[in-house]
């Protein structure tokens, strides 16, 4: 059996930032477990730029962003095992993992940081009817084939879903010589970043059809086309709007799901909206000493925010190991109306600093007001020119406000037009 103060599951941007912060806070004994052959996570296949504008103040590619953290992990001599899959977390914070060289590993941790990231929703989850030949894959899988393996998965492409990976792949496939026929989005708005819609679709003349979906997939061995149709306000296809589009590939960018199998198996409470753990402001779950950060906690649109959040979790885990994170009365947070969720879901009243609340809205708004209420009483009101589901928002609860709160109080965030 191995012993570490902190075991970090996942060596992507979240896991690395959490580990580095924990080291900075004085924890020597840290082990990162990464299932891929290298650290860096999904950033390794994101060769486009746009990373790091917030955190580094410069525009980096995915591998460049990851590399800055990999270098620090190496400089700090933080231990990591790649090509290693965590199989199980036990109730007493033991981690079972497996790889080719060590075989089955049994690791006792004082604290565990969950940083497993997320996965893409597959076709099956959408229940799209039609045939089941080749040529249907998630946008992220296509991204790996093109950017890592160097092969084209198709020549004539329809993309379903306007999530960021779908938008990025529309541009990427076009640059590699494929014809991207269109991007269809079920909702009346895109869930992707505005800059991606402009730079990946508009700049290449790729049409984005909103309130439109794929209702049938054709072709026996290989996709030969799809039927698309407009949808009504209940997202049901409108008869008469069906049209056939010839293509050999359908890429799906229809949402990301936090990868919480380990979390669920050990009995950690999950938030039904985020599909991630319910956490406090240090991202500690209801399971003592287990923290979560990055896309396994809730899906982020910018890696920069993943980094910030993971540093918070790393600091929290370090405090826990050092005995500085003590039990406290808590208040809870609650999204109201268009505010779909808030992370963290709980705040400890003994926190000595400010607490940033991240939230996401379920609709687009122009010139709206974000209102924060404590037990029904307004404490913050802030005008926002634009709010969109694709862009995460935040508000700061100052420590001064926090000190006026009491046990079991409720902080609500809503949007008023």
């Amino acid at each position: 059996m191995l012993n570490y103060d902190i075991v970090v599951i996942g060596g992507g941007p979240a896991g690395m930032a959490a580990a580095l912060k924990a080291r900075e806070c004085g924890i020597e004994s840290i082990l990162i477990l990464e299932r891929a052959e290298t650290l860096g996570g999904i950033l390794e296949q994101c060769i486009h730029t746009g990373f790091g504008l917030q955190y580094f103040g410069e525009e980096l590619s995915g591998p460049e962003y990851a590399d800055r953290f990999i270098k620090q992990v190496n400089e700090q001599k933080i231990e990591y095992k790649t090509d290693t899959m965590a199989l199980e977390i036990t109730g007493d914070n033991k981690v079972y993992a497996v790889n080719k060289t060590d075989g089955l590993l049994e690791i006792q941790a004082k604290a565990i940081i969950l940083a497993m990231g997320c996965r893409e929703r597959p076709r099956g989850a959408l229940n799209i009817p039609g045939t089941r030949g080749s040529g249907v894959m998630s946008a992220g899988t296509a991204q790996k084939y093109v950017n890592i393996d160097g092969y084209m998965p198709g020549k004539k492409v329809v993309i379903l879903g306007s999530g960021d990976i779908g938008l990025i792949m529309a541009r990427r496939m076009t640059l590699e010589g494929a014809k991207v026929e269109c991007v269809c989005e079920l909702m009346p708005y895109s869930s992707g970043l505005t800059r991606n819609i402009v730079q990946c679709l508009d700049d290449f003349g790729i049409p984005l059809y909103l309130s439109c979906t794929v209702i049938d997939i054709h072709g026996k061995d290989r996709v030969t086309g799809v039927t698309i149709a407009n949808v009504d306000e209940n997202r049901k296809p409108i008869p008469g709007t069906e049209r056939f589009i010839e293509c050999d590939t359908l890429l799906l960018s229809v949402g990301l799901i936090p990868e919480n199998e380990l979390t669920r198996a050990v009995g950690i409470d999950l938030d039904r909206v985020t599909s991630g753990a319910v956490v406090d402001e240090y991202r500690e779950t209801n399971h003592k000493g287990v923290f979560a950060c990055g896309n396994v906690l809730h899906v982020h649109d910018l890696v920069d925010f993943v980094t910030y959040e993971s540093q918070t979790a790393g600091e929290g885990a370090a405090m826990y190991v050092l005995g500085k994170k003590t039990d406290s009365d808590q208040v809870t947070t609650k999204g109201v109306g268009a505010v779909r969720y808030i992370v963290p879901q709980k705040i400890n009243l003994n926190n000595e600093g400010d607490v940033k609340l991240y939230f996401r809205v379920g609709n687009t708004f122009k010139n709206a007001t974000v209102k924060v209420k404590y037990n029904g009483e307004e404490i913050i009101s802030r005008k926002r020119p634009r709010l969109a589901p694709g862009e995460m928002e935040n508000v700061v609860i100052t420590n001064k406000m926090l000190q006026t709160f009491s046990k079991d109080g409720v902080i609500e965030i809503s949007v008023e037009v």
Partner: protein
């Protein structure tokens, strides 16, 4: 070289025919038009081992179902295929349907089904708490069970190959000549010679028989669509739940699968042609509606995939197994629809006995009925895991994380007798890609492993044979 028997069609019927024939001193070829075993009806059906109360007494369906189901536990043990004898409940929602239950009970007793019992609403809801409260009673059939149909097919075929049978894939028979003692079977490119032919071509049985001038068969492809739900709802029910049968089939069922998922379906629609395995939105909605009649709390939220299969239906509504009227060395195994999976072990024996008797073949002393158990890392204890990784480090790398499938298991599936040659073949043998992410993460790794083991470029690898290549040329 001349084979003694060419079995045409590597579904569950052909695989069991090949296995049973390989018990004798007969040289067997198992010929398949697709790139893998179990590519037709055998990969997309209800995965149920029926107790045998449905079929009309005296029919082959009735006789072989009861016999096959009785053999299933032992056969699955020999072939190392999981079989769960969970029993079935046929639900009645009215007094009228209780009459059907009684009729089927009587029919089952006549067919020789053991343990049948008519139970009342209280007992039913005690056995299945999630069943619709409106159900007034049920027919309990304890001998029914669940098995993975393609796993059973693959295991039977592997066992046949280990015992000397040869598996030939991508061999779509288009011509059969007979010179009075030997058949020449050809796909236009290749040909093989055989003294006997077993026609186990599923929905194509009629077309294969027609190649020797036997026009007595007419198969109708009857499509059934299904939805498969995540393992998180696999325990909603603990028995196979049927509704009262209709003229088109056994009705919509709700059942756990042997791997712990929940299966809903099938529909029954006679189709034109024999290739249409599309699913369609209206039908899927209908399945849900019907499934909710049995189990109201079923939703589409947990659906991970949908699929369709074709039943090889004959107008006579029975199996036709025996020598063709045109040529007594040509053995038809036609109209093998439900309960074809349940009957398969018995159908295999029946076919083998017909040929062995005609040919005067002897049973071999060295036949090995056991198919070695594949490594199943996910079912191992940690001690077993340590031991197997020490023996072969490839079992220490997890490729499919949803189902916890290792690189070693995938390589085994490719190297197996009649092994996998495409991504779907790996999936059916190992479950890699069968979980909730449906291959999003492991798909590209499986492609790499196939390319490496088969010694080809990764853009040669297909999803399911034919034109189903996954990748085109290199990027710029």
């Amino acid at each position: 070289m001349c084979y003694d028997v060419a079995v045409i069609g590597a579904g569950v019927t052909g695989a069991f025919a090949a296995r049973e024939l390989s018990r004798y001193n007969l040289k067997v070829a198992l010929i398949e038009k697709c790139n893998d075993l179990a590519m037709g009806t055998s990969k997309a059906n209800s995965a149920i081992v029926h107790s045998g109360f449905d079929a009309v007494p005296g029919t082959l369906k009735a006789i072989l179902n009861v016999k096959g189901t009785a053999m299933m536990p032992e056969t699955c043990k020999e072939l190392n295929v999981p079989f769960k004898p969970i029993g079935s409940l046929l639900l009645a929602f009215s007094d009228e349907e209780m009459k059907t239950v009684k009729e089927l009970y009587d029919r089952g007793v006549t067919n020789g089904v053991h343990g049948l019992e008519i139970i009342d609403s209280a007992k039913l809801h005690e056995m299945e708490p999630n069943v619709n409260p409106d159900a007034v009673g049920a027919l309990w059939a304890p001998t029914a069970g669940i098995v993975c149909p393609y796993e059973l097919t693959i295991a039977a075929a592997e066992n046949a190959v280990v015992n000397g049978a040869e598996f030939m894939r991508n061999f779509a028979v288009s011509k059969i000549d007979y010179d009075g003692s030997v058949f020449t079977v050809s796909d236009g490119n290749r040909e093989i010679k055989a003294k006997y032919i077993v026609n186990a071509a599923g929905v194509y049985c009629d077309e294969i028989a027609a190649l020797i001038g036997d026009n007595s068969l007419h198969t109708i492809a009857r499509k059934g669509e299904y939805m498969l739900c995540d393992k998180t709802v696999g325990n909603l029910v603990s028995h196979v739940l049927f509704q009262c049968p209709t003229i088109m089939g056994k009705g919509t069922l709700v059942t756990p699968t042997v791997d712990g998922n929940l299966l809903l379906g099938p529909t029954a629609i006679d189709i034109e042609g024999k290739e249409d395995v599309d699913t369609n939105a209206d039908t899927l909605a209908l399945i849900l509606e019907k499934a909710q009649k049995s189990v109201p709390c079923v939703t589409t939220r947990e659906v991970i995939t949908s699929f369709a299969g074709l039943r090889a239906h004959l107008e006579c509504d029975d199996f036709i197994i025996g020598k063709s009227g045109k040529n007594d060395k040509f053995i038809n195994a036609a109209g093998i629809e439900s309960p074809g999976l349940s009957s398969a072990p018995a159908v295999g024996i029946m076919i083998a006995e017909i040929i062995a008797e005609d040919a005067g073949a002897e049973k071999r002393a060295d036949f090995n009925p056991v198919r070695e158990a594949p490594v199943r890392f996910r079912h191992m204890t940690n001690e077993e895991r340590k031991a197997i990784i020490a023996k072969n480090p490839a079992y220490g790398r997890i490729v499919c994380r949803c189902e916890t499938i290792t690189e070693g298991e995938i390589i085994d599936a490719i190297k197996a007798p009649a092994g996998a040659r495409d991504v779907d073949g790996v999936k059916r043998r190992t479950r890699a890609g069968m979980g909730r992410c449906q291959g999003g993460f492991c798909g590209s790794k499986v492609v790499e492993l196939l390319a490496e083991e088969l010694g080809v470029e990764i853009n040669e690898i297909t999803k399911c044979g034919g034109n189903s290549k996954i990748l085109y040329e290199r990027t710029k």
